[in-house]
């Protein structure tokens, strides 16, 4: 009897109210508010420069551990930067490095995605080619740099080839993973909706692998900047790596720090840009990621 009374009219039950995503606005983990977090981050940057400045001044006027020209203060580096920017020299070096990175990264992306896809699709190719690449992968790319210079000369080709080589592996690996591990139920769903093998590849496999491929591209882009400096140390007459190495010969520590700082700034900007692009392409995954 009681059971009867408890039963509710089913008609009033609406199915599937929108899923409550409990994202608390303005409050992040450990209960810090957004503005506090932003404030702390700004303080962190300011603190960095203050410490640098402090150490530099302390060394120059009080402690005198080493020659003051070996540790210039931030304002000196800034002044060097302004002078070099005004003369157009800085832009020349930035453009030289950037164009090498873009070429090398572009080639790596094309090769990595194509070979990764081919190997991810074909068991035969995978077992034929992967051991080869697995053998090369643990060798730090830098080990090949002197050889690249011998093979491709001291011109642009050796640097582009070196970057392409280094950036290839992360793209290749993440592409294979992405292509291979597509949820099989999605493949079945597509096949039962009438899709051909070819259509399944373009409309299911590739989009499903995209997040993984993009992760590889982002890693590879960072790596490209990482290795360009080393490549420009060896044989170059332009580029940010050259700027640093050349300045070493003349004890121009400000120039060296400037080169490093510019690379840092470009790296941060590139990462922000790539995150933006990722957010756009992977809108369907939500905004939970990639805010840093």
């Amino acid at each position: 009897m009681e059971a009867e009374a408890v039963r509710q009219p089913r008609a009033t039950v609406t199915v599937a109210a929108s899923p409550a995503k409990a994202t608390e606005r303005g409050v992040s983990r450990r209960g810090l508010s957004r503005s506090t977090i932003l404030g702390l981050r700004v303080v962190s940057l300011v603190l960095f420069f203050v410490i640098w400045w402090g150490v530099s001044l302390l060394n120059a006027h009080v402690l005198k551990v080493f020659n003051p020209i070996l540790l210039p203060a931030p304002d000196e580096v800034l002044r060097t930067g302004i002078t070099m920017a005004a003369s157009g020299e800085l832009a020349k070096h930035i453009l030289a490095s950037l164009s090498r990175v873009l070429w090398g990264f572009g080639i790596a992306a094309a090769l990595g995605i194509v070979t990764g896809t081919a190997l991810g699709r074909s068991r035969l190719l995978e077992h034929l080619v992967e051991p080869m690449l697995e053998m090369l992968r643990p060798i730090p790319p830098l080990a090949f740099l002197p050889m690249m210079v011998l093979w491709f000369g001291i011109g642009e080709a050796s640097k582009v080839a070196f970057i392409a080589y280094a950036a290839f592996f992360p793209i290749f690996t993440t592409t294979i993973e992405g292509i291979k591990y597509v949820d099989p139920v999605l493949l079945r769903a597509a096949a039962s909706l009438g899709a051909s093998e070819r259509q399944i590849f373009w409309h299911v496999v590739l989009p499903a692998a995209t997040p993984s491929i993009i992760t590889g591209l982002r890693l590879a882009f960072g790596l490209s900047f990482f290795v360009i400096v080393a490549a420009e140390f060896i044989a170059a007459d332009s580029g940010l790596g050259f700027l640093i190495n050349d300045a070493r010969t003349f004890f121009l520590v400000s120039n060296m720090l400037l080169g490093a700082a510019v690379i840092g700034v470009i790296g941060v900007l590139a990462n922000v840009l790539l995150r933006k692009l990722e957010g756009r392409l992977l809108r369907w995954r939500g905004e939970a990621r990639g805010q840093a």
Binding site: E4, R10, V13, V15, A16, A17, S18, P19, D183, V185, L186, R188, A189, A190, A191, S192, L193, G194, A195, Q199, H203, V204, P207, A208, T210, L282, R283, W284, R285, G286
Partner: protein, 252 residues
């Protein structure tokens, strides 16, 4: 008219385990059949063979007179895991079949919109699957299949991942949609009450090896009252049949 004809179908996997043994079954056009049984009775295997995902070891399956050799658009499948494409919005998911068929953009949007409103999701067309609840996702999946105009609708425990209340609503919804867009339905479930609520015919399956134990015709008119005497007594009878099979598995 026969829609699905299953002729002496067996399936053995490499380890020599017989998942299905000589199953034969005829399903008339626009009938609603539930395959019912405990896990391991081969009900999903049978459904996957009709879908064309799994090949029978012996025997054959005909759908509308054509032997099944692979998956195809004439047999729509609704999965327990929804299987929506997460990078497509609700409406883009429904558009998938029409897109594959080469329908122009405007037309396929119209078709998709019609089926989304049929399942009651007209207002959610621009949402991505992650923004939808389980019940809503399964509605999108049903709309996606129907927009493709299959002659057969195969459902593999479609409401198995839903909570009890949503599940009952979805069962009613499915009957309403089926009433508006008649298809031959094969519905795999291990819920006895779900099968009685939905089906014209319940195929109770036996385990080890998978065979048909008994076919129960359900003649009660829709909508069926889950607390009516006829419903409850049929439930009790089928429960007894299924219990025997569960006991055979040696697990309780």
């Amino acid at each position: 008219m026969k829609s699905i004809l299953i002729e002496g179908v067996s399936k053995s996997y490499t380890e020599g385990v017989l998942a299905l043994d000589e199953v034969s079954l005829e399903l008339p056009e626009n009938s609603f059949t539930c395959l019912l049984g405990p896990s391991g009775c081969g009900k999903s295997t049978l459904l996957n063979m009709i879908a064309g995902f799994v090949e029978p070891t012996t025997g054959r399956i005909l759908v509308d007179g054509q032997e099944v050799t692979r998956a195809g658009a004439d047999r729509g499948v609704v999965f327990q895991e929804y299987a929506l494409f997460p990078w497509r919005t609700a409406i883009e998911n429904v558009e998938f079949g029409p897109m594959i068929q080469g329908l122009p953009r405007v037309e396929r949007r119209t078709v998709a919109r019609r089926y989304l409103s049929l399942v009651g999701l007209a207002e959610h067309e621009t949402k991505y699957p992650r923004e939808l609840s389980g019940g809503m996702k399964q509605r999108v999946a049903i709309a996606r299949v129907l927009a493709n105009h299959p002659s057969v609708l195969l459902m593999d425990e479609p409401f198995g991942a839903l909570d009890a209340q949503t599940r009952e609503v979805m069962q009613e919804e499915l009957l309403r949609i089926w009433g508006e867009d008649k298809k031959t339905v094969v519905f795999v479930t291990h819920s006895i009450s779900e099968s009685i609520f939905l089906a014209d015919r319940i195929v109770v399956m036996a385990t080890r090896p998978g065979t048909i134990k008994e076919i129960v015709d359900v003649t009660m008119p829709h909508p069926r009252d889950r607390s009516s005497a006829a419903f409850v007594s049929l439930e009790r009878e089928i429960k007894r049949l299924v219990r025997e099979e569960v006991a055979k598995l040696g697990v309780t």
